[in-house]
Symmetry: C3
Subunit: 356 residues, 3 copies
Amino acid sequence: MMPTFSLQHLADLVGGSTIGDPETPVCEALPQNDVIPGCITLADSKQQAEKASLLPASAVVVAEHFENCNKPLLIVKDIHMAFIQLVLQFRPSLKPVETTETQIAASAIVEPSAQIGIGSQIGPHVTIGRDCKIGRRCVIHAGVSIMENCEIGDDCELYPGCVLYNFTRIGQRVLIHSNAVLGAFGFGYRHKNGGHHRTAQLGWVEIGDDVEIGAGTTIDRGTYGSTRIGCGTKIDNQVQIGHNCHIGQHNLICAQVGIAGSCTVGDFVVMGGQVGLADHLTISDHARIGAKSGLMSNVGAGETVLGSPAAPIKQKMLEWAVQGKLPEMRKELRALIARVEELESSQSLKTRREAA
Amino acid sequence: MMPTFSLQHLADLVGGSTIGDPETPVCEALPQNDVIPGCITLADSKQQAEKASLLPASAVVVAEHFENCNKPLLIVKDIHMAFIQLVLQFRPSLKPVETTETQIAASAIVEPSAQIGIGSQIGPHVTIGRDCKIGRRCVIHAGVSIMENCEIGDDCELYPGCVLYNFTRIGQRVLIHSNAVLGAFGFGYRHKNGGHHRTAQLGWVEIGDDVEIGAGTTIDRGTYGSTRIGCGTKIDNQVQIGHNCHIGQHNLICAQVGIAGSCTVGDFVVMGGQVGLADHLTISDHARIGAKSGLMSNVGAGETVLGSPAAPIKQKMLEWAVQGKLPEMRKELRALIARVEELESSQSLKTRREAA
Amino acid sequence: MMPTFSLQHLADLVGGSTIGDPETPVCEALPQNDVIPGCITLADSKQQAEKASLLPASAVVVAEHFENCNKPLLIVKDIHMAFIQLVLQFRPSLKPVETTETQIAASAIVEPSAQIGIGSQIGPHVTIGRDCKIGRRCVIHAGVSIMENCEIGDDCELYPGCVLYNFTRIGQRVLIHSNAVLGAFGFGYRHKNGGHHRTAQLGWVEIGDDVEIGAGTTIDRGTYGSTRIGCGTKIDNQVQIGHNCHIGQHNLICAQVGIAGSCTVGDFVVMGGQVGLADHLTISDHARIGAKSGLMSNVGAGETVLGSPAAPIKQKMLEWAVQGKLPEMRKELRALIARVEELESSQSLKTRREAA
């Protein structure tokens, strides 16, 4: 059974006012795509308010009084801030876990030499290796594997199934989603005696404060030293970051990006989905790389590049515009060659005539 | 020791007839690429029957009597239906697990408030959180993590290591392969005070009936509501589906496809491998998207698009055909410019001569 | 507390000589990007030696006496061989686990019919199914799932969270990184009665000796028989290999490559990152495929191809060079058409004049 609250109760909760019956019962908070009878939804424009009128929702959160919406309204300044509070009212288990006392699940295997900070929660089937240090108020979910000699700061959250190889170092307030892998071996081989032989994989992965790492993302350890992700950088799902890369601060790296080994990326760089970087590139601060681009050379500060191989966005957009006209251009060129041939033959005819 | 059966025994099993010695002993059922002495293999053409003659197999499953094959034959109407039965005869543990009674491994951690349907099997090291509901006859393999408030229908199978974040909803007969992650946070941030701040990630993932999800695939939860996969849709390995996407029914989405947030995909859509979709696109019913395409705009019903940026297949094929001739076209253009210059100068010469 | 050694002690360890104070205390071995005060670093050129002079490192490993480096030096023939030894001296837990006696963690679930070879170590929360055979001196890390009827050779290492589906066969000295999945179902469906129906997924995955498989990589089982990876082939992270593929020996397959079903790849093939192969292709020995290429046709022995759709490298480089000039070419073509028109009209004028 879902709990039910009156519209007025919800308005008081979010510091808003109501139009229509304040006793309207509300049983959930859902976006327009997912409304069920009895729920409250939201509308951030006149158009959306009109759409909301036609839905089975019982009330609508709005920032102003839309006359075209015939539902009871809950009016607030910031509809998104308010809607978050409403959702958490109906689905309270979405609130972040409060970690006041240290809890280690009976099925977790924590080596005696590992240190767990006060207020941290270690879930079922977690493994924490020798000499690890886990900070305070961390939440380590079910089935996470932390190999020996790892260090994790305070207030981190690691979701089920993610893996830290030995010597991984994690800052404060880092969030790592399920099945991400930090510290696996870089892809470095030397060809010798007819086979490939792995080069040294003795470094580590180092993650700055406030970094977020998506599900299934892999970040390889350095050769002798660090593969480093700077503070505040956010990495989406299924991203691959090669060994010895140094990624700066406050980057946004979208899903399925692949960064080959030994790249240096500055601060506030944005990479769209499925971008690929060749090894040893330098991408400077505030560069922007369009989705699916393939980079074979460096990108300067503040530049925006696109395409594969990538080029400055203006140039690439021009190229793409013309590319669609290629078949036509080829026809025109063929026709023009014929016309020039005709001109030439008629001229040579004339020349010969004149010479005659 | 492998079991051995006579060819006649196998023919009786699959309702077929034999040519050659019915007592031929058979120890395995293997395709031509993997034959070992004593096995039965299959041939679906005259050519393949001839190839089979040269292999160490003891017998061949065929749909007709190929004279060019000197092996004992097992003749059936549908060689694939028959071969499946033969493989299962030799490797019986490939048969789907029959779940008649509820089994919960001693090492599984199931919260007391979780409900497990009759006939379901919960494997070792599985974690099932508070208030989850698991249907009947489900098989939850080793190390699966199901966080609180998830709902799973009947007859689902979840392979080792897959993760459902809280509030994930799964229909009937859904199959989820290893290390897939459903319900991780969408990649949504607001830039404020010099850093990126995560937007609300309070929705859920909703999977329709008969959906299959490949290994390592990630599907992010919606902002306030659902990220939805329609009934009968099949998703390959390492696919990424962003938050708030609504994917229709009976799609085929091949490996390593990336779909950015808030896309709407119709029914019976086919996407080749490594396709990328920008956010907020609409792909209509029966659209087909060629492998490795990059989409920046909508695709109409029944259209086939290709390339990056994508274009209708006819146009793109023409473009690609001409593209290979670009260097030649450039040469022709250079030459033509020279010829026109010559024509012009000879003409101006003539004009001056005539004027003289 | 890090251990500290004298420079002379380290020189003796690696068979090198010292220049400068042999009693210099050294507390770590780190590459130039990661130096901390008191560590030894390395320099493989005059330029790097000069850079090292400016760093807080206490000593430098070099192959010759660089006069421009004012730090105590440790001179050795092969600086990389020496540096590996030094790192292992300071971080001894990076040395491979020595497996002299069989160890099975109390929390591992090993079916009674499974066989574990002498000297193998089975980590916490591992699951090993019925009738599995694990060789000698294997290291199976935490949370690995090995389903029934798998066979693993000697001296293999499987990192946390990787999954082998039933009937997977692994050779000797194979290394599988975290969350890789071997043996999930191929993406094969038949359209029938308005839905997609899975075809048979009854084969297995077969991995040769000395293969290495990256984190998050997925390799699907064959239809009736094998998906095969040849001896000595190295596969990076997040690679997808479809069902029935036969990959040869000593390949290098970089991150995020996708190989569709039933491809045949020869020996010593190199594929760059994010390459995609259509199904049923044949790639011959020693072929090289540039990063991000999309292949729709076979590649001959020793060929290098590039681009999407891929073409021989020479041709593709020419195409790409001209592509950047496309907007210019279009302008030239427009201008030329105008000039030819003028020539034509002036000529027709002349012709008319002459006719007059």
